[in-house]
């Protein structure tokens, strides 16, 4: 089975990236994601139901033998994402077939 890792540097696309990782996990891939920079509280906590929805997505991803990591500690505390370091993330990337920076900015920074 293929291994895929989503890197999510963009705040706007982080939750969509988690959902995309889940989609590949459902298709029998080992799928992982990592929120690179942003506090997801701003994008997902305004609605309690939406926060629970996103946390359920992460748990579902784990049930499918994937995981969702975070570099910012706040996401581990608020959303239950797995805390990791940049060095650990780099080592994880060496073990996967496909690395997908998800939702990155255009070349003109827009």
């Amino acid at each position: 089975m293929s291994k895929v890792f989503f890197l999510m540097p963009s705040r706007e696309y982080a939750l969509d990236g988690i959902r995309s990782a889940l989609g590949l996990a459902v298709e029998n891939m080992y799928a992982y994601g990592c929120v690179m920079y942003n506090d997801l509280t701003d994008v997902a906590c305004s609605d309690k139901d939406m926060k629970e929805y996103h946390m359920e997505n992460v748990e579902w991803l784990r049930d499918m033998e994937g995981d969702c990591f975070t570099l910012p500690e706040c996401n581990a505390a608020n959303f239950g994402l797995t805390q990791t370091t940049l060095e650990e993330l780099g080592q994880k990337l060496r073990d996967v077939e496909y690395i997908i920076p998800y939702g990155i900015m255009r070349a003109d920074k827009s």
């Binding site: 990337l93 060496r94 690395i99 990155i104 070349a107």
Partner: protein, 58 residues
């Protein structure tokens, strides 16, 4: 393992540099820069086919 690193930005941040360094270790690496006036996309396609893995960094 041949790894192709596609660089979208002329200036990459320290995190990308670090990740690229770790992923590149003990591997055959090539690089293609998209942040130029006229990228050679035909060459990029050939490089993608030649590589075992392609990573597009931000």
């Amino acid at each position: 393992m041949k790894v192709l690193h596609v660089m979208r930005s002329a200036e990459i941040n320290d995190d990308v540099k670090k990740l690229k360094e770790i992923v590149s270790a003990d591997r055959e690496n090539t690089e293609f820069n998209l942040a130029v006036e006229a990228p050679d996309y035909a060459k990029l396609v050939d490089m993608v086919w030649e590589a075992d893995q392609t990573i597009c960094w931000w």
